[in-house]
Amino acid sequence: MITEIAWKNVWRNKSRSLIVITAVAIGVFAGVFSIAAMNSSIVQRIDAAVNEELSHIQINNKDFRSSSDIQNIIRDYPSLITVLDSTPGVINTTGRIVIRGIASTASKSTGVEINGIDVEKEKRIFTLKDKLIPGTGSFFGAPTKFNSVFVGEKLAKELNIIRYTLTQDAFLKLESEGIPSAVITKLESLRDQKFPTDKKFSVAVENILASSEKNKFIYKIKEAAWSYREGSKIILSFLDINNNQTGAAFRVCGIFRTNNDMFESLSVFVPVNELRSLTGMTEGSYHRVIAKLENNDLTDKITPTLRESLPGFEVLSWKEIQPDLAMLADMMQQIYGIFMGIILAALAFGIVNTMLMAVLERTREIGMLAAIGMNRRKIFSMIMLESVFLSIVGGIIGMIISGAVIASTAKHGINLVKYSEGMEAIGYSAHLFPTIGVQFFITTTILIVLTGILSSIYPARKALKLNPVEAIRGE
């Protein structure tokens, strides 16, 4: 009965209740959607780190990370694999040779980490093959007769194995992308000119376009004009197992594009057998073993178990390899809490205000209820339920809207292209796909109900302080 009266009381002043419900809905939507967008950035970064760069667990020779000496190989690799294969939750493993070296072309050279990989096994662990830019090669396809290398787009640009040319195909692409014809007409003056670097092409475009046009369309223009110099070769130089300088020419058989510029410019991948023969390492020797787990949640559980089973090795989870990322993920959880707390506190004040008005308007009625025998607990419950109904109706509407908008944007993404350079420089994607767990929705619902209850305390106490005699007689 109290519940029924409270619900009906909410709708006594429809416009006022609807305003509060709308405010709660907008507040909840703003909070949930913002958090989903922020969360997506972290989730995508972790996802990329795990699926493209690190996997869940890495096992190294104990001294490998501190010295990076090529001789710090993993002893007894088959036994290590046996332990991993018998560990529940580990679904795939692979070994890598990891050495430091220098990548050079005729015009540039830069320091890189050369990863000797087993191509077939890597495909089962990492999604890097999906990051291959179409038309740049087939590193993960059929074996080649020559030394092949898989490099990042950033490194390819640094080493000048990418060029920019506004070909007929590029112009057609620009038209299909909706670039205004006035801009395309201006770009005609650059038709078929070859620009060897990103910078030179940018300057040329800047000279013919207005500043606003350049800012708006440069990303699409570069995408259309970008092309890979087929058959480019780079020289990889490094030390062999006897610490003698060695190296070889590698043909670029694929360029990958991720959202992590650092990873793109530092990591190169070559087939493990080619690197092994060049370094003089024996068959079956590796510096690092990588394990993929059934899911990321198992990482914290399996890492210490493996550490115990493999005392002679350094066993590291991705969180330990990139502690900044793990810390950021933890910190973001707290930031979400603070963010939601501020929004709910603001909503609470709105609800308190509305409920206080409702109580003061109904002084006579509440006095009458007390006079005819409605006890304090029931009066308190009635006011509290009204407040909870206001907040929960608004909250549910807000969450339905949030869910719908998150589902829609998760499908198409939010493209923050304007900030892509800065975001990708630190490893974050500028194309966000908002995501939030079911747990967050459940927690938010509980918090909304709690906000409703807390918001009711002051107005309900006001109601309880009413003297029935004065309340009935006063208007």
């Binding site: 009266i5 005819i372 025998g373 006890n375």
Partner: protein, 228 residues
């Protein structure tokens, strides 16, 4: 045995430095089946006396006994239960719950007392029929006239068979036809259910119907007459 026994009751208010004695040594008793009015000029203490009898206010002196309860000994929470169980209230301004229908208003106190649903329904039907509103079960107070609202209020007050009904100026906001009709109903219920009614009023029509007229002046009983 008296339903209400009032022994030398005082009620004083301290308005700034002046002490105002709203009730000044009243001794009265009401028997079961009384149909009594308390009359007197404004400020004579009528409403204060009804509030004291109904346990809405506490006396500053003397004692009031209702159905064996000494009201001054009850804690505030016990007074609420006492009111719910022993007293029926009819207010000048009807004071129905606006979001509930007539039937829901009538069954409200039965609900508070956790009566079974079927029993509530039977009693509600019976009372709304008694007050001539059997066709207005589902009407909200805003859809009823003043007289009809007051009849619903009387039905609500009677619902749980209280010891007595306190009606503070029940006809003050009604036209003469509605007032007469309401008084007819109250008289009938007094007769049929042996319900004790205690009114405060200025209304001559109520005084004419009363079986007992108690006149207050300056907080004192100056006459207490039977008028059949």
């Amino acid at each position: 045995m008296a339903v209400v026994q009032i022994n030398n009751v005082y009620k004083a208010y301290h308005d700034t430095e002046v002490e105002v004695k709203a009730i000044n040594g009243v001794t009265l008793s009401f028997e079961k089946g009384d149909f009594a009015v308390v009359v007197g000029p404004s400020g004579s203490g009528k409403t204060t006396l009804l509030n004291l009898i109904g346990g809405l206010d506490q006396p500053t002196g003397g004692e009031i006994l209702v159905a064996g309860h000494r009201l001054s000994e009850l804690r505030p929470s016990e007074l609420i239960d006492f009111r719910m169980e022993h007293v029926g209230f009819v207010f000048q301004s009807y004071n129905l719950i606006p979001v509930l229908t007539a039937a829901e208003n009538v069954s409200f106190i039965m609900n508070l007392q956790k009566w079974p649903k079927e029993k509530r329904k039977v009693r509600t039907d019976e009372l709304l029929s008694s007050v001539g509103l059997s066709d207005r079960h589902n009407s909200r107070p805003s859809q009823l006239s003043g007289g009809q609202q007051q009849r619903v209020a009387v039905a609500r007050a009677l619902a749980t068979h209280p010891e007595f009904i306190l009606a503070d100026e029940p006809t003050a906001n009604l036209d003469s036809k509605s007032a007469e009709s309401l008084l007819d109903i109250m008289e009938k219920l007094n007769h049929e259910e042996q319900m004790t009614f205690i009114f405060s009023t200025h209304d001559i029509r109520v005084m004419k119907r009363a079986h007992r007229v108690i006149t207050l002046e300056d907080g004192k009983v100056i006459s207490d007459e039977l008028s059949f």
